[in-house]
Amino acid sequence: MTQTDASPETTGEGRPRTTGSPAGVRTRRPDRATAGAGRLAALLVSPTLLVLTVVVLYPTLMALKESLYGPKGLDPATGFISDTEPFVGLRNYAEIFGEAGARFWNAFWNTTFFTVVTVGLETVTGVAMALIMHRAFRGRALVRAGILVPWAVPTAISGLLWRWIFNSDGVANALLGQQILWTTEGFHAKAAVIVAEVWKTAPFIGLLVLAGLQVIPKEVYEAARMDGARPVRQFWHITLPLVKPALLVAVLFRCMDALRMFDLPYILVGAQKHSVETLSMLAQNEAANVRFGPASAYAVILFLYVFLIALAFVRLLGTDLVGGGGRGRRGFLRRGEVTA
């Protein structure tokens, strides 16, 4: 997120960059950084930055401020409910370690648990799907269209759909021959959320990994075969390292998305359910009950959590988000825009 390494692009003196990739991947030759280009760029970029400042930066700062205020209480002098919220300093944060803390830590662990488990399962399933699709030569368009269907289904709708499947008299129990009350409190509620989430997002990872697989030259595999490498070895030593950059970015985006999970548990199981309440749900619930102080504190903590994980990805794993850095132009994959 905060890559500060000065690539040739960012050093004001623009010398025409020589392309590093052999196959003419980088055909563009950026114009020199002249004063004119700078002015034009400022003109073109500033509306976007302005809008993002208003809709993202400003609310974030507001949340930060709001998290330092408590709920409106009775004014001891007049006995009426005061119209201003009292300043409470860091109390909203401190309470996490106090009585209100149990609900927060539960939400925190749920969020973390869902993120680790769903992203892990998605990655394995997605990679497996990609390997299968890569082998298939006929019907690829059909497969690709089929795989896009879970991506296109709104998360809210998939929540309802899986709520129906996991109904006590629903098809999941019919298939399993069990009578599990999936959508009530308990570990099975977590399992239901995980199954639904993996269904919706694994195909997407599959699609991204497939794109990565398709650019690995066949010669690499031929050479490996000549040297006597078995398929399993080929996978670990050729396929995985070569799709790793693409996979890492996909996993990063999926993590960011899973950390803010809201719609699916909210609809599949319900609000204020201990087993599945995530940080997003907790913050939204507090805000909807006009407890803006704690809500903002939770939102700020979630934001910091997301930020730290993204930072860890970029720093520790060297995930290249933007592309166009030292490694040619590839480098980003988009999350499946399942924010909603």
Binding site: M1, T10, G12, P30, A33, A37, L44, T48, L49, L52, V55, V56, M62, A63, I132, A141, G146, L148, V149, A152, V153, P154, T155, A156, I157, S158, L160, L161, W164, N167, W199, F204, L207, A211, G212, V215, D257, F262, I267, S280, A283, Q284, A287, A288, F292, A295, A299, F303, V306, A310, V322, G324, R330, G331, L333, R334, R335, E337, T339, A340
Partner: protein, 278 residues
């Protein structure tokens, strides 16, 4: 490798392909099948509804549910969000792909970083602000926060599309006497139309699927978007969840997206995987 093992291997691959497609489509198919059952048969587990019934679809469009209005709300919110985001993003993405300027990489990173932002972090403060200025239950209260994810998404996508277009196009136009602005308007935008179109679809789907913002910013049924309205469908009695009409409404909300995806799958996949494939 003998012919027989090759055949076996091939068979295995296609069995895998069938499994993948079945995995992706089965739940969706179940939604479709359930929506076509009569209320009395809703707990049937046959793969084909018999008898076929459109009862649930009629229930969805019962004026009391106000589902038509919810669809319209979704269309307005997602439509305006998409148009605004694309309008701003086209210019920004062009600058990102074509111009050299200070802090470009930093700015692009920041824009992309905002798309990873937890939406709830902006919903909480904006909910308070919009309550104070009386924006609750308005379209702008849903459109403005939606820009926080739609705009970075559009900039992201379009930047890749513009980067893929050869510079020579503009250089030729500029040699022929166009200014940079004219080259952009008359050469780049028309040629980038497929990319802009794909970005519009992806952005629209993202905005159409949004739930948290629409849920928080509305409390009047008449202003709810389709995703929120469905989640609040009520049955004849409070104790009975109207699964049939929920599934029917789910199909109605999803089918336009699925049709779009099927028609433009090649382009959408190209858009979504642009970075990975190059």
């Amino acid at each position: 490798m003998t012919a027989i093992t090759a055949k076996w291997r091939n068979g295995l691959v296609y069995a895998g392909v069938v499994a993948v497609v079945a995995y992706c489509l089965a739940p969706f198919y179940w939604m479709l099948v359930s929506s076509l059952r009569r209320t009395g048969d809703i707990f049937d587990t046959t793969l084909v509804p018999s008898p076929l019934s459109f009862e649930n679809y009629r229930a969805v469009f019962d004026p009391a549910q106000g589902f038509g209005r919810a669809l319209l709300n979704s269309l307005v919110v997602a439509g305006i969000t998409t148009v605004l985001a694309l309008l701003l993003a086209t210019f920004t993405a062009y600058a990102m792909a074509r111009l050299e300027f200070r802090f470009k990489r930093l700015i692009l990173t920041l824009i992309i970083a905002t798309s990873m932002f937890p939406v709830v972090s902006i919903v909480v403060p904006l909910l308070k602000l919009f309550t104070d200025i009386g924006w609750i239950n308005t379209y702008q209260a849903m459109i403005v926060p939606s820009m926080s994810f739609a705009l970075p998404l559009a900039v992201w996508n379009l930047t890749t599309f513009f980067r893929q277009m050869p510079d020579e196009l503009e250089h030729a136009a500029m040699v022929d006497g166009c200014t940079r602005g004219q080259a952009f308007r008359k050469v780049i935008v028309p040629l980038a139309a497929p990319g802009i179109f794909t970005t519009a679809i992806i952005t629209f789907i993202a905005a159409w699927n949004e739930f948290l913002i629409a849920l928080s910013m509305t409390n009047k049924p008449g202003m709810q978007t389709a995703t929120v309205a469905i989640s609040k469908f009520t049955g004849a009695t409070t104790y009975e969840t109207p699964f049939g009409s929920q599934m029917a409404a789910g199909v109605l909300v999803t089918v336009p997206l699925v049709v779009m995806v099927l028609l433009f799958q090649r382009r959408i996949v190209a858009g979504l995987t642009a970075g990975a494939a190059k």
